[in-house]
């Protein structure tokens, strides 16, 4: 037990990887065994994450379950892990979504072993980002997540997968380039990559310092601005913030269902997490300075994302654009907080951040659910064209019910999770960015419009004759997969305190 | 005012150079060979003028009697090769003219740098016979010229053997000639 306590994060982090290696030992033809092993293995980190959740002490400041080991001494980087109230929900979300994604991938027939192994590898990558307390390690995991995703889209995606995966890869790598350079610069200037040390040093770095011998003639402020934007762009691409979002619809549309789930559910959060973990603490001044611009982008993402979503005829694309829309709220919250932190409006800022973090979690649930459901219908109809679907409610009533429930959560219906987080964001941002917030509420209306459009096109209207003979109903495995998501949506909707408590403690400490 | 010896010298020099010139310009090889003999004889005259009578004798014996005659023999042997009407100079003979003139010019220029060239001949301390004896002794003295003397004989022998080998019609070459 002591071992478990001491190395909990490492165990969570690497158990999927170990599972992936284990999978490779199973003969490739034994599909069923591979699937089961993958599922069981993915439950291990989930179990551990639950343990983590309950063992985590919300009231305690700072990072918990910290581990540190030698990794790359030569450049001052170490294997340094730890979690706080922002990362714990993310860890939980990740470990929860992965088994579900695996479960939904039962229908994959092609090269199952590699598929499952990549999924588990992906999980390790994502978890690593949420746990790292070392910039270099952060970057390592940041990039590691990229490759399995690329191959998942590239290999198991649909028609236009090569284009989509390539676009995804190049966008993200180009984005991380700036991140890489900025990290290097920070590392050089600080002589260490340890996040805790850097957070103290870097943010207080001022003009009087000689910048640690960097041969840069630019003013320190300019340098920090450049580094700030390098970070912002990298994360913005990942989130994605308008106008860096164009990779996302393609990637989502072409990815396999489980891939989309993870992509929307977790990967997008990496960017937002980066904002919270790195940008705000490291660049408070710059963040404040540019917060207005960021807020504007967020509003544009919300409004334009919603409009774009509305305009889609492809069900999956519709859901994909909704991610842009929803993540806009996260960014709005962050922008508001960035502007307000340390001022009189700090309380509003805390509120907004709380909302943003919760929105990350919630969007993870609802987007994953939506993609799952899109996948279900695509599985049966082999089309995602809204105009070819329709009137499915009578044919597949259970499916219809679940879809409506999930869509409502996504829409922000009070009583479900989306409402709570969006309300918090809006409430927190209102005093800070009143105009933006107002505009984004207009966006909310359009959100309602496109969600309802989707529901209407799929479930109602005249039944397309084609589907008559088909078995359109959702099956048991899929229900099992979505049930936990629905449970959590409802839970947070009615009783958000259990999770907000955890988030709030940390946010208060960090931004209060 | 020229002394007698000087006149002798100049006349001999004129003849020698003329003969030498004819050697290198004459179209007929036979003529050239004869002019060569004339040149060699001219040089022998200078040897005499230089109190080296023995060398003059050797010049006549070795050069005129042996070498020049050999050359004439070979000229006769090979007379079918190049007739008088054939071109005797190669295409770049003008370059040879330039080269030779340049050489002569620079040699003379070189000599102007040497003051001792104006020297008069010192009187000889020995008579001709004594000198000859001295020469003979020097050639067999282990502390003087015995090695060159011996080597020269080896060289002559080797050259002789070699010349015979080369000049003698080989068995194979004869066979081939018969075939062709």
């Amino acid at each position: 037990m002591a071992f478990l306590q001491a190395h909990l994060l490492t165990l969570i982090l690497f158990s999927p990887l170990a599972g992936a290696v284990l999978l490779l030992l199973i003969p490739r033809e034994r599909l069923q065994a591979i699937r089961w092993v993958a599922l069981l293995v993915s439950l291990i980190p989930f179990g551990l994450a639950l343990f983590l959740w309950f063992a985590y002490q919300p009231g305690v400041q700072g990072y918990q379950f910290v581990e540190q080991a030698i990794w790359y001494e030569a450049i001052g980087s170490s294997y340094h892990l730890g979690v706080d109230g922002i990362s714990v929900p993310m860890v939980l979300l990740t470990t929860l979504l992965t088994p579900l994604a695996i479960l939904i991938s039962w229908s994959i027939e092609d090269n199952v072993r590699s598929y499952m192994a990549l999924f588990l590898l992906l999980e390790t990558g994502m978890l690593g980002v949420f746990m790292s307390l070392d910039l270099l390690i952060f970057f390592v995991f940041w990039e590691i997540g990229l490759i399995p995703m690329y191959f998942l889209i590239n290999q198991w995606g649909s028609g236009n997968r090569e284009y989509a995966s390539f676009k995804f890869l190049i966008y993200t790598i180009a984005g991380s380039l700036g991140l890489l350079l900025a990290i290097q610069m920070i590392g050089v200037a600080s002589g260490t990559f340890d996040l805790i040390v850097i957070t103290e040093k870097w943010s207080t770095l001022n003009q009087s310092l000689t910048l640690f011998g960097l041969p840069i003639t630019l003013a320190i402020g300019t340098v920090k601005k450049i580094a700030f934007w390098a970070f912002v762009v990298a994360f913005a691409i990942k989130i994605p913030i308008w106008p860096f979002h164009t990779w996302l619809p393609d990637a989502h549309t072409e990815a396999p269902t489980a891939g989309s789930m993870i992509l929307a559910g977790v990967l997008l959060k990496l960017g937002a997490y980066g904002f919270l973990r790195l940008v705000l603490p490291l660049y408070p001044v710059e963040a404040k300075y540019f917060a207005g611009a960021l807020g504007l982008l967020a509003v544009l993402a919300i409004v334009l994302g919603a409009f774009a979503s509305w305009g889609q005829d492809d069900f999956k694309r519709l859901v994909a654009y909704s991610s842009v829309n929803h993540m806009g709220f996260v960014v709005l919250g962050i922008a508001a907080a960035a502007f307000a932190q340390g001022t009189m409006q700090a309380d509003d800022a805390v509120l907004a951040i709380n909302g943003a973090v919760l929105q990350m979690f919630n969007h993870g649930l609802s987007a994953a659910g939506m993609f799952l459901l899109v996948g279900v219908v695509y599985d049966r109809a082999h089309t995602r064209d809204l105009n070819k679907l329709g009137g499915l409610f009578p044919v597949a009533p259970i499916y219809g019910g679940i879809l409506i429930f999930t869509a409502m959560a996504s829409l922000g219906l009070p009583g479900l999770n989306g409402f709570v987080s969006e309300f918090l964001v809006v409430r927190g941002s209102w005093p800070i960015f009143t105009l933006y917030t107002a505009l984004s509420m207009v966006g909310l209306l359009i959100t309602g419009a496109y969600i309802l459009k989707g529901l209407a096109k799929v479930l109602h209207g005249p039944l397309n004759e084609k589907w008559l003979g088909h078995k359109m109903e959702i099956n048991r495995r899929e229900i099992i997969a979505i049930a936990p998501l629905m449970f959590l949506m409802l839970l947070i909707g009615v009783w958000p305190a259990w999770i907000l408590n955890v988030i709030n403690q940390t946010v208060k400490f960090l931004f209060g | 005012m020229l002394t007698l010896t000087q006149i002798v010298f100049l006349v001999a020099a004129a003849i020698t150079l003329l003969a030498a010139f004819m050697v290198v310009t004459s179209r007929s090889m036979v003529h050239a060979a004869l002019w060569l003999i004339m040149t060699l004889a001219g040089v022998a005259v200078f040897f005499v003028l230089l109190n080296a009578g023995f060398l003059a004798v050797v010049q006549v014996a070795v050069y005129i009697d042996a070498i020049a005659i050999m050359i004439i023999v070979v000229v006769m042997l090979t007379r079918h090769s190049m007739g008088i009407q054939d071109r005797q100079k190669n295409k770049t003979w003008w370059a040879a003219v330039i080269a030779a003139s340049l050489l002569f010019g620079s040699l003379v220029l070189m000599f102007t740098q040497a003051p001792l060239l104006g020297a008069e001949a010192p009187a000889l301390t020995m008579g001709a016979e004594a000198m000859l004896e001295e020469l003979g002794l020097a050639l067999v003295d282990v502390d003087r010229y015995i090695v060159p003397f011996e080597v020269a004989s080896v060289l002559l022998l080797a050259a002789l053997v070699g010349s015979i080998i080369v000049a003698w019609p080989g068995r194979k070459s004869q066979d081939q000639e018969d075939e062709s």
Binding site: - | F111, P148, V161, G162, V166
Partner: protein, 484 residues
């Protein structure tokens, strides 16, 4: 430098020369009495005889602490002479072995006897300390070689080679001799070690000395086939019986260098800077011309001829350095070059013996036909190209080192750039050998014992000089020091 007067023990010093003379006589007699097929016997007799003399030289010919002038100053007994003698004897023995059944050579007794006489001439060239002796020694070397080059009377190319070699040799030696006569005239002495004293005294104008130096250099350049007195080399190399080509390209060239080193260093210190510059220019031109003209060659013997011209250029770099190390590097270079070139020619001889061609294109498929022979050729050509761990690399290294030491950086660069051109055409040959296929690949090339012996000795020597160069270098430095 004083001249030691004769003692009976002095004879021991020239014992090798005396034995060479004896050997030549024995060979002549044996050659006359033996049958026409006595080639093999004579070959071994000559080789063993030369080896015996080599051993005698090593045992008794070692110079003492100080250099001595003997026989009235005709000869100088020093390390320089000793080293070169050993080298010549070695090459001659190898040549004798390689000549075992060279085609088109009749009168084998005379052939070997002339070979021995030429060797005698060379060993005298290396030790001559008097212009009279030197001239005689050069001619004693050259005249038998003229004959040997034209020895295949039934072969048009051979006779042509003989005549060309002769005409060039006689002309250049006449020019050199004229220079000698002037040297004698303006110093009053024929001993080259006393010449320099006269030159030093300042009695003679530098212009005059320079002129004489140029005249003398003409003759030496012919012997080492330096540009512009190299014209004979390709034709003679191609036409002469191949073992003789090997002999001319190695021993004769080395002898030329022995004379060049001794003479230039001893006689012309007064105009050091000038003649060194001249030699530097000649070295540059020689290397470059040799290498560039080697590029288009299609006949392996001509290729090696041009390469040997180029190698003379490299070796001259060491002379330009004008230091004891530079001189040592020349000697070392020659040692390395000689064993390497013999190996190369041995392969050429063996190949021509079986295939009857010297054209490079015919070497296609050699590596499959006779991998061992191909490997020897590889080793030899790479050594010529200056690749370690072979003799050629170290040799070039020392030469360039000497140039750099003396500040002749540009010359060193010219040298290395030329080495690259050289490598290029050696590789072109190797490409044919290793890359191209031919229809005769299944017909191996016979390697008789005497040839095999030469190949083995040379390859071992190439490797030994290349890897363990210290003793050879010590030897070279000792030799060089005896000139300073």
């Amino acid at each position: 430098m004083s001249i030691a007067s004769f003692e009976p023990s002095t004879l021991l010093i020239v014992l090798p020369e005396i034995l060479l003379l004896l050997l030549a006589g024995i060979i002549l007699v044996v050659g006359l009495t033996s049958q026409r097929s006595g080639g093999l016997l004579l070959s071994w007799l000559t080789a063993l005889g030369l080896t015996g003399i080599l051993i005698v030289t090593l045992l008794f010919g070692r110079p003492g602490e100080n250099e001595v002038l003997i026989f009235g100053g005709m000869l100088r007994h020093d390390w320089m002479a000793f080293s070169f003698k050993v080298l010549f004897l070695f090459v001659a023995a190898m040549t004798a072995l390689l000549s075992a059944d060279v085609e088109g050579v009749e009168d084998r007794g005379e052939y070997y006897a002339l070979l021995v006489v030429a060797t005698l001439g060379m060993s005298l060239m290396a030790s001559s300390a008097d212009m009279i002796m030197l001239f005689l020694a050069i001619e004693t070397t050259s005249i038998p070689l003229y004959i040997l080059a034209g020895f295949k009377k039934g072969d048009d190319k051979s006779t042509e080679a003989g005549l060309k070699y002769f005409l060039f040799g006689a002309l250049t030696s006449a020019v050199m001799l004229y220079g000698f006569s002037l040297l004698y005239g303006f110093s009053g002495d024929t001993n080259i070690y006393r010449l320099s004293e006269a030159m030093h005294a300042g009695a003679v104008s530098p212009w005059l000395i320079g002129g004489m130096a140029v005249l003398v250099l003409v003759g030496f350049s012919f012997k080492i086939s330096a540009v512009p007195f190299h014209f004979w080399a390709p034709d003679v190399y191609e036409g002469a019986p191949t073992p003789i080509t090997a002999f001319i390209s190695t021993a004769s060239k080395a002898a030329g260098f022995a004379v060049l080193l001794r003479f230039m260093l001893a006689v012309f210190p007064a105009i050091e800077a000038e003649w060194v510059t001249l030699v530097a220019i000649m070295a540059t031109v020689t290397m470059t011309v040799g290498n560039l003209l080697a590029l288009p060659q299609t006949n392996i013997k001509r290729l090696l001829a041009y390469s040997s011209i180029a190698h003379a250029g490299y070796a001259m770099i060491g002379l330009v350095a004008l230091s004891s190390f530079g001189t040592a590097s020349v000697i070392f270079y020659l040692i390395g070059y000689v064993v390497t070139n013999i190996a190369a020619f041995a392969v050429v001889i063996l190949f021509a013996r079986s295939v009857g061609s010297d054209e490079i294109v015919d070497y296609a498929g050699l590596s499959r036909r006779s991998p061992g022979l191909a490997l020897v050729l590889l080793v030899a050509l790479l050594s010529l190209g200056g690749m370690p761990p072979l003799a050629g690399f170290v040799a070039k290294f020392y030469v360039f080192a000497a140039a750099v030491e003396s500040g002749w950086i540009w010359l060193a660069f010219v040298g290395v750039l030329n080495a690259i051109i050289g490598l290029y055409y050696y590789m072109t040959v190797l490409k044919v050998v290793y890359l191209y296929r031919s229809e005769d690949e299944d017909k191996p090339i016979a390697i008789p014992r005497s040839y095999a012996l030469v190949l083995v000795i040379c390859v071992i020597a190439i490797l030994a000089i290349g890897t363990l160069s210290a003793p050879w270098l010590d030897w070279s430095i000792n030799s060089a020091l005896s000139l300073f």
